[in-house]
Assembly symmetry: C2
DNA sequence: TCACATTTGTACGTATGTATC
DNA sequence: AGATACATACGTACAAATGTG
């Protein structure tokens, strides 16, 4: 069956924030655990159909919020500890 | 006479960081005082010949550093107090 | 050392939406 | 209503960091 895009472009919440919220939920649900790598920008582009810049903004937002850390050349990782 | 661009595209320092550094210097020099508005994105585009996104990144960097604040629809202002 | 794939950083341009005056 | 200003999205391109073979 076909799942429509999870991103709601009619929503007042910006797409990059929606993507970040989804990742945040997955972290809290334990789908992505501390120390583990988050989906790459390309992964997010493929999964949500957003642009690279949008996917990158979502990940950087998580970094700003302290929920993710960036390892250059490697990717974004779920922050360890808390 | 002709002044070349102030931005050095050969430098390892990203253009948006160079623009931010210039604005930072002006703030420290008192050219832009606390509470005053900083140049708009369009101003920076005109002055430095960079793209809107680049100019915006420079201003947002200053915000992240606590040297500027955003007032929606108004522009970026030099942080008051310090 | 080298080459390659992967991943992010950053730049460019363009378009639409919202906020403020 | 119109002008100004930023937020955000899209796409595209090249550079730098990193890991692997």
């Amino acid at each position: 069956m076909h799942y429509g895009s999870v991103i709601d472009y009619e929503s007042p919440v910006a797409p990059y924030r929606q993507v970040a919220a989804i990742l945040r939920d997955r972290i809290e649900a334990g789908q992505y655990r501390p120390g583990q790598r988050l989906p790459s920008i390309n992964d997010l582009v493929g999964e949500f159909g957003v642009a690279r810049t949008t996917a990158g903004k979502a990940l950087r937002l998580l970094v700003d919020e302290g929920q993710a850390e960036l390892s250059q050349g490697m990717g974004f990782y779920v922050t360890r500890g808390s």
